[in-house]
Symmetry: C2
Subunit: 450 residues, 2 copies
């Protein structure tokens, strides 16, 4: 007699918001006042001793409740499924979520509905990795290449990458993987830091934090630009003079410019030996990025944190529009779609340098880069993961940075779980923080009533 299979019994959602806008942390040319937030999901099972699966979408405040509603709309695909089956093949759930034709209409495969799928899919991978007793990077790096190929949706990709090509890349990625695992566990994965460069910071704060970044062992920093060119020239000069000639310095316009303005502005800052210009224009503008890249070389062009799905990444690579692919762990449809994007980048030989920061994005995306290093690209050359020193204390298994490197996680799972007390305190609008805050003054509404 077989035991009753363990099933997923609940898809619990939480609207968690941190009041980051009050410190000007995270301010850039397009996002002056973000309240870093998470539409958070917990998959619960009917085995009390078993682990839960955690995942989330990162947002910056208002609208987080819309994201929660979108996750909620996926519940009927999840509740009741066998945990063994879904963990043995997360792609089975991924395909059902992507394939819901009525929900697909709301994208297709982009925006709120797609990010909701990402949150749920990532929660399944968290659950799968916990049950396997491995950190996610290791589960992926040790997985059978054919099984990994089966996790990828190749629809709309086959003109650039076929399943056979993906399989070959993954098989080749296995050569030397054991050595790279050893190396990763010993030294970690290179990081760069955005902490010095937020637009809201004074030159004094920029100077202090840039010097600190070098002292902490980072070999690359990043400055937000795009609000005022004179200010940017001054800030780049300050930063370069602080870090010296050997530290890479990237700039990030957060989609502020049209194509010609991006070219003009980037060229004006190139004198300070800019390594890459990030998000020079709309993340949707493949041809625009290609034109910018041709014009601003040798400054590299980077984008991806807002790239909606694998189809846009495919074209950015086909068009020669980017030097650096910046995956985001929670923008696309989770680990499965990021596998497709990592494979595309490997096929085209373009390095992946993930976007991170926000709430928990560092915790998630480190696993994807570490898998990429150990079992796909096989190198950390010109690869760095963004690091921002925000909100890590709310996580149960926070990232650990040593000498400018992400330390490889060893705890089973996807490092996605937030502390229960943080969830309780920052749930909007009823958690203890927001209840007290809203009782005092309501900053989240515009005072436009008559």
């Amino acid at each position: 007699m077989s035991a009753t299979p363990v099933r997923i019994t609940a898809v619990d959602t939480y609207d968690i918001r941190f009041p980051t806008s009050r410190e000007l942390d995270g301010s850039d040319a397009m996002n002056p006042d973000p309240d870093y937030s998470a539409a958070y999901v917990v998959l619960r099972t009917d085995a009390e001793s078993d682990p839960e699966g955690h995942g989330f979408t990162f947002t910056i405040g208002r609208g987080n409740e819309v994201q929660v509603a979108a996750i909620h709309a996926l519940r009927h695909h999840v509740v009741g499924r066998s945990v063994d089956e879904v963990c043995a093949d997360p792609g089975s759930l991924f395909r059902d979520l992507i394939g819901d034709s009525q929900l697909r209409w709301l994208g297709p495969e982009k925006g709120v509905m797609h990010m909701a799928i990402g949150a749920v899919v990532n929660a399944v991978w968290d659950l799968a990795a916990k049950r396997a007793g491995k950190p996610l990077w290791r589960l992926l790096a040790e997985a059978d290449p054919e099984w990994l190929v089966g996790q990828v949706d190749f629809r709309y990709l086959t003109d650039a990458l076929t399943p056979d090509e993906a399989l070959e890349l993954l098989r080749k990625g296995r050569d030397g993987a054991a050595d790279r695992t050893t190396n990763l566990l010993a030294t970690g994965f290179p990081a760069y830091t955005t902490s010095p460069g937020w637009l809201g910071y004074s030159d004094e704060k920029l100077t202090r934090l840039a010097a600190q970044a070098v002292a902490d062992g980072f070999r690359q920093i990043k400055l937000k630009v795009g609000a005022d060119l004179d200010d940017d020239v001054r800030r780049c000069r300050v930063a370069r003079s602080v870090v010296g000639p050997d530290i890479r310095m990237a700039i990030d316009a957060n989609q502020r410019w049209d194509v010609s303005e991006a070219i003009r502005w980037t060229k004006a800052l190139a004198d300070f030996d800019v390594y890459w210009i990030e998000e020079p224009t709309s993340p949707d503008d493949i041809l625009g990025h290609a034109a910018i890249r041709r014009a601003v070389a040798p400054v590299k062009v980077a984008t991806g944190e807002h790239v909606q799905n694998r189809v846009i990444f495919k074209q950015l690579l086909q068009a020669g529009a980017v030097d650096v692919v910046q995956i985001d762990a929670a923008r696309v449809a989770g680990v499965n779609e990021n596998l497709a994007i990592l494979l595309l980048a490997a096929k085209f030989g373009v390095p992946v340098c993930p976007h991170a920061g926000g709430v928990g994005l560092c915790e998630l995306v480190q696993h994807l880069s570490m898998f990429d290093y150990v079992a796909l690209s096989g190198t950390t050359e010109d690869r760095v993961i963004e690091y921002v020193d925000h909100l890590h204390d709310h996580f149960l298994d926070p990232v650990v940075i040593r000498e400018g490197h992400y330390t490889a996680p060893t705890t089973p799972g996807f490092s996605a779980a937030m502390r229960p007390e943080s969830i309780a305190r920052y749930t909007f609008p009823d958690g203890a923080f927001w209840a007290a805050d809203l009782a005092g003054h309501d900053e989240n509404k515009k005072g436009q009533a008559a």
Copy 2:
């Protein structure tokens, strides 16, 4: 003493769903069972005698509640605004909605959040046209060109279209506008019909409806394809034999194919003198559409109903990827963004043939094509608006088709208002229809619970 200005007092939302999946109306290769739905919004004012503004997002069932939540998230930008001010310059509200940086993160400018903005923006235009005493097409066609240019967001467009170029196009569009208005009011705007060609229909029904379409005066029909090539060959043969050689016959794959499959399948059907292949692949795949277009000529390539925003349309035109631009009235950010897309199409000399059908899309989009004809492109040559004979009886000012032409609306507004009794009956899940239906059997949930 000035009177107290009239203000918008409420943004009321409704989750309206029609059980269309039970008739196989609307079935295609990607959407086998759509329940045509509307996330519907009414802007109310504090002047009881004044008109309301109506707008909506079209969805196909599940997830309509997410779309409603997204419209709800925009309320703080709308409630309390002066009706005079917002009707004198709908762009002022449009810019505030697009410019909400926290909400922008949820796209940016795509998917659920962007469609919600479209619903609210369209409701404002409905209100503005009603107050002006004009159907929307006429309000636009008679508007000052400089004012119209001020309604457009040129961000990310200036490498393809500048405000000065747009102004010149609109000024030139005025030549002969009075004659074209007369002609439009006399004969209407050409339509084509998709009614014969849904995938779920038998050959008998296809034959009967195709013959009826010709008898009704349509000069173009469209068939859904992409599920089974042998079936498609047979259906195209049947349809061509019924309509004869002089009627244009388009086919529509609803994004079913990868690039190489799109080319192979389209070529296999080209023998039946196919006029255009619509949505051959992902709407995000600009380079894919360009490759398909090069390969399948002289069959034309059409897309747009799922194109998320002006940035993708810009690139489809820049890349020479489409022969036909298919705007949708409710997918992008409303009239303002569609003005940008019409201007781009005019700049590149590509005809606009709108997507319609669904719930109320015919009612809305006719106004945009009629404006395009009277005051921008100046021609109906190779221009047709899709027509589907579904659900029009739920609207107060339904489209009127005569001899294969949309009759020009004369009632003030955007023809967006649904009948109050339809709203009440089909509100999900509490309207009379759904309450009775759900009490009987619950078709909207998958039976996956343990």
